[in-house]
Amino acid sequence: MPYAVAGILTYLVLGVVGFVVRPGWLLGLLAVAAGAATLALWAPGFPPGLLLGETWGVAVGGDRVALVFWALALVLHLAVVLHERHRTGPFHPLLTLLVGTSLACAVSQDIFNFYVVLELVSLISFILVSYESEPKAVWASLKYLVLATAGMTFYLLGLGIVYVRTGTLGLALMAERVTQGDPVLVAGVGLLVAGLAAKSGLFVLGLWLPSAHGYAPTGVSAILSGLVVKLGVLGLARLAEVFPIEGLVLALGVVTGLGGLVYALWEWDIKLFLAHHTVSQLGYVLVGLGLGGEAAWGAVLYAAAHGLFKGLLFLSAGQAIYEVGERDLDRLRGKLSLPCALALAVGTWAIVGLPPLGGFVAKAVLADHSTAGWLAVLVVLSLGTAASFARLLPHFRSAGRGTRSRGFLLLELALLTMGVWGLVTFPGARDVGEWLKSLIVVAAGYGLHRLVHRQRVQLPALTLDRSFVLLLLGTLALVAVGLASWVLL
């Protein structure tokens, strides 16, 4: 525990010092080195304990989920630092602070501390989304701010109710004191889930996500999509350890997966397309979490793999937009430079779940431990992902050499390492049947793409007012479903 706290503090201190000294991208390197050193020191994990005093202390714990999140955060941060070396000003200090607070979030085992850290993460994210002062990005950031703050208001209400009913904020103690069949507690937990869902951009509650991730600067999109949205999901995972919310999480997962997919299928802007896919892949993660047990571990691995490949995809898409000067998928076709096209291809290879990269391994673990009915849902989601990513196929033909980025290389290697590690660790992933299945799903996805790619469907725009109404309705629905399942069971 002291090592983890030291790592977080180093990160935060470096971030604050960076505002004064302005060392540029070296600051990020230094922070990642410090983070990696402390991670190595606490590596296999540490038992949950209280920080700052016995009775009122803040519960922290380093389980394997926290370990995966730290590793993901450090790799992504390093990749973005290497990719965004040209940035001066407060960019790198802000990014360091963002990653530092995310690290704190990963080891937090206390629902109020989680609230504080999540709000800090959001606050820094708002600033970073609007970093380049583009009116579109500022508007996206403001939408993010309004919806996330409303969601966190619900979280605070739920927190109060849960605290009164259980008399504690620490998750370990809470698990001992949960009483079955208490409608007030159920409503409180419903509000907590709604707040986290709004915060992590799940479908119908947090519709700020596509525009905020789509219009943010390149490196910021990579960190937000790769790491920050996972924090809300991490919160749901922590709550699922204490309260029986599997049903709610599964329902959220299906809605999120399908909703994100539908929007991604008919999106023409390359970064918005990737942002919609962040939503759909979150659905995948949530279904795994809802299934519980080893499937939840698969979901955590998928969250990590998604962080790596979505980071890579966002970096290459941002680089492509920078080089070509277009955001439109049709107009980008055939104009990408070689490193860009290669990174896009590797990212696509991983996201559709083809072996031997990280995405395949996580999908295999998840599929291994899910029941037949839910496996069908997962396959439908994979199929849709493959169908929408088939639109990127013409973009893999490059127009010539371009500037190489070490950020691309790092993430490509990380994906490959994760894939190889998974193939060695999980026997299920070495099965030839699994490899064939993934190939069939991707081929079927390509067929689906040929069927639907001529259709142009106008989906309702995700405006602030609509998103807000849906946030309120979604919260009511979550609380109502929670109460109904309590009455029925």
Partner: protein, 118 residues
């Protein structure tokens, strides 16, 4: 009894704030509503601290006591709300300067997400 009144007031404030965000088209009004809702949530926590069984925060102080923990929590929450509101107002100033409007629907129109003309 006081606590019950405060709880009702807190829930009322949250409802009022969210209603304002819902029906007003002006950004400043929306942010005001959001802040009122946040204030309601804070009051909710303070009101919940009034409980029969609460022990003293310091030893040997005569009762009645309230639970000290929620009050410590709301200090943090208040600071967070302040920071978020300040940042949001900076955004409103920026958007007013660039887009010359604070009307949400007009802002939405100038940042369209539609099919390209082709």
């Amino acid at each position: 009894m006081e606590a019950q009144g405060a709880l009702a007031l807190a829930i009322g404030l949250v409802g009022l704030g969210l209603w304002t965000v819902l029906v007003r088209r002006n950004l400043v009004w929306k942010l005001l509503g959001l802040n009122v809702a946040g204030g309601g949530a804070i009051l909710f926590l303070v009101a919940l601290a009034h409980r029969e069984k609460a022990g003293p925060a310091l030893e040997g102080v005569p009762g009645p006591h309230v639970d000290p923990l929620p009050q410590a929590l709301v200090l943090t929450a208040i600071v967070i709300h302040f920071a978020v509101l300040a940042l949001a107002l900076v955004y409103v100033i920026f958007l007013s300067e660039r887009r010359h409007t604070q009307d949400v629907r007009k802002l939405e129109e100038t940042c369209p997400t539609r099919w390209p003309e082709s």
